[in-house]
Amino acid sequence: MNREQQIGFFKFFTNELKPKGKIITPFNVISLITILVAIVILVIRFSKGLGSVVHPSQDRPWGLWINFNVITGVAFAGGAYVVTFMVYILGLEKYRPIVRATVLYALLAYMFYAGALLLDLGRPWKVINPIIGNSFGLSSVLFLVAWHFILYMGSLFIEFFPTVAEWATLKRQRRFFSSLTLGVVIFGIALSTLHQSGLGALFLMAKPKIHPLWYSEFIPILFFISSIAAGLSLVIVLESIGQRVFKTNMSVSYKSSHSRILISLARICSISLFVYFFMALLVFLHGKNLEHLNTPWGYWYLVEIIGFVLLPCIIFLSAYRRQNLQMIRIAAVLTIIGIILNRLNISTIAYQWYADSLEFPTWMEVVVSIAVIMVQLLVFRWIVRRMPVYKESPSWINDKKQDKSFSIKNKSLTLNNRREKWKVSAE
């Protein structure tokens, strides 16, 4: 870049920094207040210790920030690996419109939820230890999960970068990063498989502390399978909200593809929920847990597994048959509640279930938890209002080289391009 360009870019960037859209809206006001309060709480937390803001429990050492933001939140970021799998690996082009929004959501989820992990670490300044390699705890599941978070964030960033490049008109960089897409998608799917299940594996050694209805050696597999339904349900809700909020930022073709995509997603959700239900049933029988069923814990378990797994599974199916968007959204919300229940049951509610005292998070914990989500949504909105996430890509991307796609037409096109180049250089 020469100097002029640099100045141009700088102007463009500062201009883009200004808010677009109305500033004073209920959402903005509420989120701003939450975030400000959270900042104050965090200042207290870092100067006085964790106990000054969170419920200090020796029995349940992980509070809301880890169990809700990290462990539950990351399950909902699972949409990215499922959607990129369908589009880039299986070549199901009909899902392409939602790739960018899904990847962006996941990227931000990982950034802010891994951030939440830092808030909860007692000694966050030591976080570098397992990364630079002076103390690799290779036998630790958390070590694995932490590394996968970092690597996967990188993959997601590369997957999303072409969008940034289109916004900032970085043609060369865009081409380079686009060419990496397939590789990082494959890498990212492998990483996701492992850390989605790894989040469950964190609890494998807590065997004596988790109620037998929720503990099994198959927690990792259950976590992985449920992350598919969790991720896609979140995509459904996100898309539905996006349709309203980002109307002006959406291309026509995007809008028209909306209902078709939701209906296909409903079918996949239904199938994956069914597989999840079936697995949970096998695990239940395998664990010989029948005796626990007729206890309060058993009823609670049934609420989760029937009310928030089987029920949404059926609703998804019939919604798919009837092509009913409203039902799909209801089922997605039910699934989301179900996943939150499941993760919190394992990590908090049915953890130390025999303890006689119930422990609740403090209001300050809750505020920070919500603030983390708010920040994520605000950044999401900031990016969507500017970059071609829902919008049409700028036309220059077709100038030289097409986006990676399966069409042989494109292939011959690029081949021709190259030939022309050769000709030119030969001359």
């Binding site: 030591k126 492998a190 065997k207 399966f406």
Partner: protein, 290 residues
């Protein structure tokens, strides 16, 4: 049938087949066995008089505040962020008995295998120690320890994990742990774990009327460095009998071993899928065009 179902589940989870190849990668710190015999402590609850001397000298030695309360039946005292050992009193079928609550220095500790920085370390000599300079305060050691031993200091901006370290530094100088050294009733005995088990067995053998014929910690969670004798079943003294004899890091192994397998096989499989899909689509396109 049970086995079948289990296998079925495992296969579904892409785990299974490549376990052997993966062994080398997943090998954990706890797999490294040295020739040195583990040190240990034998706690004979039939001798303990509940004087709390061990608590007092431990707090003294490590500069921790003294505990104000004392063991009473019906009250559960626990080590906390500022104490490493707690004595409890239980009303048992043979009268009031005392039991010790502190780190058990497992042979294959869950805490160390959960720790991502190796701050929790099983030393070759046996004690499991916490190292301040490594720890990042994630508390997964607390999640994993079957005895809920490690305690986190919530009240400090520079928090530590509080846990018994069997006076590792003293052992290095050839001394004994302070609690053992100062027990007036000689309820505590320090030595090589293997010898202690023999001594414990000999005590049971010599006085079969008095002792419950078992050593807690000989097999529990794969064996612990602190082993216990009692005259009543151990449950009556607040020790859990449902922890099993499998070393806790084992519960992670299937998962950890499958990691390299997934990282190698999964991308290969995905690439195959990609090529298949591409071929199919290309064919379709050619057909459409012609």
């Amino acid at each position: 049938m049970g086995v079948d179902r289990r296998n079925f589940l495992k296969t579904l989870g892409v785990v299974g087949s490549t376990l052997t190849m993966a062994k080398s990668f997943g090998a954990s710190a706890s797999d490294v066995k040295s020739d040195v015999e583990f040190d240990g402590i034998l706690f004979d609850s039939t001798l303990c008089i509940g004087c709390q001397n061990c608590e007092i000298v431990c707090a003294d030695h490590y500069g921790l505040p003294q505990q104000e309360d004392f063991p009473e039946p019906g009250k559960k005292r626990e080590p906390n962020a500022t104490s490493r050992i707690a004595m409890n009193c239980y009303e048992t079928s043979k009268g009031e008995m005392y039991m010790r609550d502190a780190c058990n220095h497992c042979n294959e500790p869950a805490c160390a295998s959960a720790c991502l920085t190796k701050a929790m370390l099983k030393t070759d000599e046996g004690p499991v120690i916490w190292r301040e300079e490594k720890c990042m305060g994630c508390r997964s050691c607390m999640i994993s320890c079957p005895f809920d031993v490690p305690k986190f200091d919530y009240d400090s901006p520079n928090p530590i994990i509080q846990k018994c370290r069997m006076c590792f530094e003293l052992l290095q100088e050839g001394q004994k742990p302070v609690c053992v050294e100062n027990c007036p009733a000689e309820a505590l005995l320090f030595g090589k774990r293997r010898d202690l088990i023999e001594i414990a067995n000999a005590r049971i053998y010599a006085d079969p009327e008095n002792y419950n014929h078992a050593i807690y910690g000989e097999h529990e969670v794969g064996g612990t460095g602190i082993i216990y004798l009692a005259s009543v079943p151990f449950e009556e003294l607040g020790l859990r009998n449902d922890l099993g004899t499998v070393p806790y890091p084992e519960y992670n192994k299937t998962f950890l071993y499958s990691v390299p397998a997934v990282l190698i096989l999964w991308p290969a499989f995905l690439l195959g899928l990609y090529n298949a899909a591409k071929e199919r689509l290309t064919k379709k396109q050619i057909e459409e065009e012609s």
